[in-house]
């Protein structure tokens, strides 16, 4: 039991710091980056349950993200239902979609599963563009900026930050629960060797489905946060292969099949994106050229992500790190 208490003491510390951050960080641009960071960490965490733990590499998670955003926004715009209810509806629709897609594709293995998820995402994107009277097609969805708790629109960025933080902590708790219980162990077994897992009494399809349901539901809910934060989105921004790829990348760079991997991945990729986007104004294309090269290097030299690498840092080096940490924290309190 000692181990668990010692760990939570530290998590508490991490939580407190996360809670106080908005007081330190005033500029909206930083808050915007932090909100996106938490959003992507949440979704990458959700993806990690299916992809990292279960080994089912889906590149179709944009389906649930888009369905979540569209469900809550269309309910809000057409019937005035508050996005708080939209959160539940979004989770329900995404879970249903998860089951609908998972059921047939779980029989497939490896890249066949991945290609099937890409195909599903493309079909849904094209349908969303096609059914203009339902989804307003490529005109996109615009939610009027009427701040208010009931319509989940806030004037202050810090409120969105806390909303994103709560969502992230929920997803972290779920991943923590998965990692600690039968579900996590079974998923890892399925990832390592499906046949051998089945003969040990694991209903492979059922546990893949459990991972899909959790993963889809969380991603759908995160879609609602995205819609309420951006207040404008179109099929191209929410049903997009690059989005599915980015969240998978964040989980992979961070460390697949680990609890904190996605958070670490997001803490690197999201700011990197922001910085790269505004650098090299002179030479258009250079920023994403570097992004591509960095992608190749990270994935080739750290196939299991950063987490295992950091764990292997020798104790001596880490203790020196501690001294530096206290020093750097004072600096940010400007």
């Amino acid at each position: 039991m000692m181990h668990i208490i010692k760990k939570n003491k530290f998590l508490l510390l991490l939580g407190i710091v996360a809670l106080l951050l908005p007081l330190f960080v005033h500029s909206k641009f930083h808050l915007n980056t932090l909100i996106l960071l938490l959003l992507f960490a949440t979704i990458a965490g959700a993806w990690n349950i299916l992809g990292g733990y279960g080994g089912q590499l889906s590149l179709g998670h944009t389906i649930f993200f888009g369905l979540g955003a569209y469900t809550s926004s269309l309910l809000y715009l057409n019937y005035g239902t508050s996005p708080w209810i939209g959160l539940i509806a979004a989770a329900a629709i995404s879970i249903a979609a998860g089951i609908f897609i998972g059921w047939p594709t779980f029989r497939l293995k490896g890249p066949y599963f991945t290609l099937a998820t890409i195909a599903f995402a493309e079909v849904i994107r094209l349908l969303c563009l096609y059914w203009r009277d339902l989804t307003k097609g490529s005109m996109g969805i615009n939610i009027r900026f009427e701040p208010g708790l009931s319509n989940l629109i806030f004037r202050e960025y810090s409120s969105y930050y806390y909303f994103a933080l709560v969502l992230f902590l929920i997803s972290l708790a779920i991943v923590y629960w998965v990692d600690r219980t039968r579900v996590g162990y079974y998923l890892k077994a399925i990832r390592e060797d499906e046949d051998s897992a089945e003969t040990l009494g694991i209903n492979v399809t059922k546990y893949k489905m459990i991972a899909m349901v959790i993963s889809a539901g969380l991603t759908g809910v995160a879609g609602v946060l995205y819609a309420q934060f951006m207040l404008f989105f179109e099929p191209e921004s929410v049903f997009n292969l690059n989005f599915s790829i980015e969240i998978a990348l964040i989980a992979i760079v961070g460390g697949m099949g680990t609890v904190y991997g996605p958070l670490l991945g997001a803490a690197i990729i999201v700011p990197l994106n922001e910085i790269l986007r505004s650098s090299f104004p002179a030479l258009s294309g250079m920023n994403y050229f570097i992004y591509g090269i960095v992608l190749v290097l990270i994935v080739s030299f750290m196939p299991n992500g950063l987490m295992p690498v950091l764990k292997r840092i020798p104790k001596k080096f880490k203790s020196r790190k501690k001294v530096q940490v206290s020093g750097s924290r004072k600096k940010t309190a400007s």
Binding site: K28, G140, E236, K311, K321
Partner: protein
């Protein structure tokens, strides 16, 4: 494990401080900073960059003539490849670089997303090129637009059919069959839908409307449907890739239409003419002003062309640079009046700013509708490819040649 998480915490904080470092960037006294948000990479890079060049030239021009009250004007660039990037970049410009006015954006979804952020932070968003009506329909307090929206395009489509096509084809307007094809992004869809609405209101028979995915690499089915519909007029709203494809495959499959009304996204560029050669001849292009135009009506266009050639050692790829240039000059005129980059003062000064048609480099007048910030005096013209050159043919006041329609 525990020690590691301390390390993670440190990593996150350090990254944040790195972003914070640039805080001091904005607000030096001797420069007037204006944000510039365009798609400079990705699928829209071609016309995104072309549009940005227009704004850049206008700023260089005014800085050469001593800037504004001695202060240099500086364009702070942002590369917004899509709506998400636009939101993030707008946020960076507003909150990080303390920008108080932003010009942009060529693409409607970028303009929409970025102006959303600008409005929330009461920062002026001055659109110079994106056409979707919804940008100004929102009636936001801090959104202005100098270029014509999609509904003005469809007005030109319909007026051109009424005034020119009906007479040239010797048909009553009611009997003219119109088909519409458009790529399915916000650009194509808005113009196509506006054209359909207005045409039906005017009693023009719209026989088919076909949308297709912008990234498609085959339009044979679109062309074959058109052959079946056999329209007199085809309104085609496309980007470059599908514009070339449509023209080439129409020729291959023997689809001919007396009046082919192309659009700014694809049919105006030299690349299009180079790709399809003489098949371009006869194609109309409803778009921002081009360069073979009645120069009396567009003073300042020659200087612009010279500046463009000197800086980029090539002729402009399309009219987008010119319209962004003209729009930027209006912004700079208003800024000169106000003297500082203050959103509210700039907005009021802009609403008072008036210019006659025929007195600007695009020939557009300038008068902003106080309700939605749309320049009501701007209008697209009709140009036509004649012997490999894009010449303005309608309306009369700007045309150099008569529209050539043969009833073959």
């Amino acid at each position: 494990m525990k020690k590691f998480l301390m390390f993670l915490m440190a990593a996150m904080l350090i990254v944040l401080t790195a972003c914070g470092g640039k805080e001091a960037g904005g607000g030096d006294s001797d420069t007037l900073e204006i944000g510039a948000l365009f798609p400079l990479s990705g699928d829209l890079a071609l016309l995104g960059e072309e549009s940005f060049r227009g704004a850049e030239l206008a700023v260089e021009e005014i800085n050469k003539n001593g800037g504004i009250d001695g202060k240099k004007v500086k364009l702070v660039k942002g590369d917004a490849t899509d709506a998400d990037a636009a939101q993030a970049e707008a946020n960076r410009l507003v909150n990080q670089e303390n920008i108080k006015a932003i010009v942009g954006s060529f693409s409607s979804s970028i303009s929409f997303a970025a102006s959303e952020v600008a409005e929330r932070n009461s920062v002026l968003y001055w659109e110079l090129g994106a056409v979707s009506d919804s940008i100004t329909d929102r009636k936001y307090k801090y959104v202005l637009r100098t270029n014509p929206p999609a509904s003005y395009f469809s007005k030109v489509h319909v007026d051109f059919i009424n005034d020119v096509v009906a007479e040239k084809l010797g048909k009553n307007v009611k009997d003219i069959k119109v088909a519409i094809t458009h790529e399915d992004s916000s650009y194509g869809t808005t113009i196509a839908e506006e054209a359909k609405k207005l045409a039906e209101k005017e009693g023009i028979n719209v026989v088919s409307v076909q949308g297709y995915s912008a990234g498609t690499n085959d339009l044979s089915s679109v062309v074959l449907n058109l052959k079946k519909a056999a329209p007199d007029v085809l309104i085609a709203v496309s980007y470059m890739n599908d514009a070339i494809l449509l023209t080439r495959q129409s020729a291959e499959l023997g689809f001919k239409v007396p009046v082919f009304l192309g659009s700014g996204g694809g049919h105006t560029m030299a690349d299009f003419q180079e790709a399809v050669g003489d098949k371009a001849d006869g194609i109309f292009d409803v778009d921002f002003p081009q360069y073979s135009i009645n120069r009396e009506f567009t003073p300042g266009m020659d200087e612009f062309l010279k500046m463009y050639k000197d800086k980029y050692s090539k002729d402009p790829r399309s009219g987008h640079s010119l319209s962004n240039y003209m729009g930027m000059k209006v912004v700079l005129d208003v800024l000169a009046e106000v003297g500082e980059v203050d959103p509210d003062k700039l907005k009021d000064a802009a609403l008072k700013y008036k210019a006659e048609a025929g007195k600007t480099s695009t020939g557009w007048g300038v008068e902003f509708n106080p309700e939605n910030g749309q320049n009501t005096k701007s209008e697209p013209y009709v140009h036509q490819w004649i012997n490999g050159e894009l010449i303005t043919v309608w309306p009369k006041k700007v045309s150099l040649e008569e529209p050539q329609i043969s009833n073959k």
